[in-house]
């Protein structure tokens, strides 16, 4: 085969491996003085990488390695969105990584995070179930190390154990499903498998098992039990990475596989998703209302957001694909802004993440309180912000395919979610407190990260060129 295809079509992964190796070598070689520039070094590399890959090079899709790896311009768009999110996470993680007990592990954080990103990229581009499985595990095994990163705090280790055991269990179930798909169709290539799908009971069973593996990554409701504990126990920067990048990649892959491989079984997986969407949105909303810990609260909020993302999947149209990518982008900026504020407050106040501690934050840190408010408004979907538009497109995609009752239930749940998002806003602006969190200035890197997120929240919805740009590429799928 022609090895130049690796560089001309697999350029995202190749470049990302380059960035990872560079970060690893810098960690090895740099002395005490050089380590101070580690953070700017990695951020610059990521910035160059994003600038180089943000626009897909080729307009037509292609297959390399005999169809194992599929290149498609839409995949390129999703990958650059994920890379941008990773850069923002890096920017916000700096003040945490500067702490004395994590300073010497800084290199590990970058290398592990980048390797999960590579895994997600391979998972998105997979054209064969083995490639998909390897990509998914490459994303979830280093993720367990990241969750248990603060290993001498009990919570982090506990969160890591809960994550890795559930991840192993879910991937075991998924493999069991894939083994039956192989048994009934005799191939593992996505393209060949579609032709042999006929919806026999064994294949439906296999599909449900397969779905549970990705449902775990997206944390949909029957598979969500690890989410709250892991999100609470993990370091805040890792939580934000887990809640956005990992979830977005898995949601997109799920849609691509359901639409492509399971196309002949569309009525079965639509029924499955129908039930799961209602469960995810409703149960997560009910649990979110009673949370006091902000990270745990955002965990349940992210479960219900995952339910909304599935509304785009259930439509199964190119329009749904566009709205899914747009939703992931908007959800990413809003959620990263919220987690960025939590991380900044946590680092500067000695770990205060409880909602009651945040009373009166507006008086001492007005800018952070305002950022948090805008992010929560966007998550809830209040009109001038990006969240409204992304929710609107998602609902429109599902409504167009005739899921009227489902959209209605989702709309009711949006109102419920507004209640608990506003509880945080109320704590910051209205509740009085005798000892509010002291006023502080967050460092430069965190501020850049928050400013990027805030710009996204304000601009993405109004600037229709973003949506049109994504739409231009999804049309051919």
């Amino acid at each position: 085969m022609d090895y130049s295809a690796i560089f001309s079509y697999m350029y995202t992964e190749t470049a990302l491996i380059g960035v990872m190796v560079a970060a690893f070598l810098y960690d090895l070689i740099a002395g005490k003085k050089g380590r101070r520039f580690f953070h700017p070094f990695v951020c610059t590399l990521m910035l160059l990488f994003i600038a180089g890959t943000i626009v897909p090079y080729h307009r037509e899709s292609a297959e390399i390695f005999g169809g194992m790896y599929v290149y498609n311009p839409v995949f390129g768009i999703v990958k650059s969105i994920l890379a941008t999110g990773t850069l923002i996470v890096f920017l916000q993680a700096d003040s945490w990584l500067r702490r004395e007990d994590t300073e010497f592990k800084r290199g590990e954080f970058y290398v592990l995070t980048l390797s999960t990103l590579i895994g997600m990229d391979f998972m998105i581009s997979a054209g064969h179930f083995m490639m998909f499985f390897i990509g998914m595990e490459l994303a979830s095994v280093p993720m367990a190390c990241l969750v248990a990163f603060d290993k001498y705090r009990n919570n982090s280790a506990e969160a890591g154990a809960k994550y890795i055991l559930s991840a192993l269990f879910a991937s075991g179930l998924m493999l069991y499903g894939i083994s039956f798909l192989y048994g009934t169709t005799g191939t593992l290539y996505f393209d060949d498998m579609t032709a042999k799908m006929e919806g026999s009971p064994l294949q439906i069973l296999a599909m449900v098992f397969f779905f549970s593996g990705l449902g775990f990554k997206i944390s949909l409701v029957p598979f969500h039990l690890w989410t709250a504990d892991t999100y609470q126990g993990a370091p805040t920067s890792v939580t934000s990475y887990l809640s956005v990048i990992s979830k977005g990649a898995a949601a997109f892959t799920l849609m691509a596989i359901l639409v492509k491989v399971f196309a002949p079984m569309v009525q079965y997986w639509q029924m499955l998703l129908y039930i799961i969407i209602i469960l995810s949105i409703t149960i997560a909303n009910i649990f979110a209302i009673r949370q006091k810990d902000l990270k745990r609260f955002l965990a349940f909020s992210s479960i219900s957001q995952a339910g909304y993302i599935m509304l785009a999947v259930i439509s199964g149209t190119p329009y749904g694909m566009t709205s899914l990518i747009f939703y992931v982008l908007v959800y990413m900026v809003a959620n990263l802004a919220a987690f960025g504020v939590i991380s900044a407050v946590e680092q500067n106040s000695g770990g205060k993440v409880c909602m009651d501690d945040w009373n009166g934050l507006y008086r001492t840190n007005p800018k952070l309180a305002l950022t948090m408010t805008l992010a929560l408004f966007s998550l809830a979907g209040i009109p001038p912000f990006a969240g409204f538009f992304s929710k609107f497109f998602i609902f429109a995609a599902a409504f167009e395919q005739g899921f009227h009752v489902l959209v209605f239930i989702a709309l009711i749940n949006t109102v419920i979610s507004l209640y608990y998002y506003l509880l945080v806003v109320k704590a910051m602006f209205i509740n009085k407190s005798d000892s509010p969190i002291a006023s502080f200035r967050s460092d430069c890197s965190t501020r850049i990260g928050l400013a990027l997120c805030l710009a996204g929240v304000l601009v993405l919805g109004i600037a229709s060129s973003v949506y049109d740009g994504i739409n231009m590429f999804t049309f051919g799928l």
Partner: protein, 102 residues
Amino acid sequence: MIQMEYYLIVSTIMMFAGIYGFFTRRNLLAMLISVELILNSVDINFVVFNRFLFPGQLEGFFFSLFAIGISAAETAVAIAIIINIYRNMRNIQVKNLDKMKW
């Protein structure tokens, strides 16, 4: 020759024994062993399907090889985390992992 169904019965029993163990064991290492049972049953499935149904190709064999390798990596990470928990609280019973609930 032994029929394919007998192999599948063995792998199904392994699979559900693994699931049962995962839900009932109260020790982290025992839970890990249960998950390994699930992963091994999958390997049996792949190999058996390949050998009996599609003898002309090797996809199933390859998949089971990769699955074994990856599950070994996962187990290594899981054991590292379990050792860390042991260092923190001197035992690995699930009932002690209750700092975070609800």
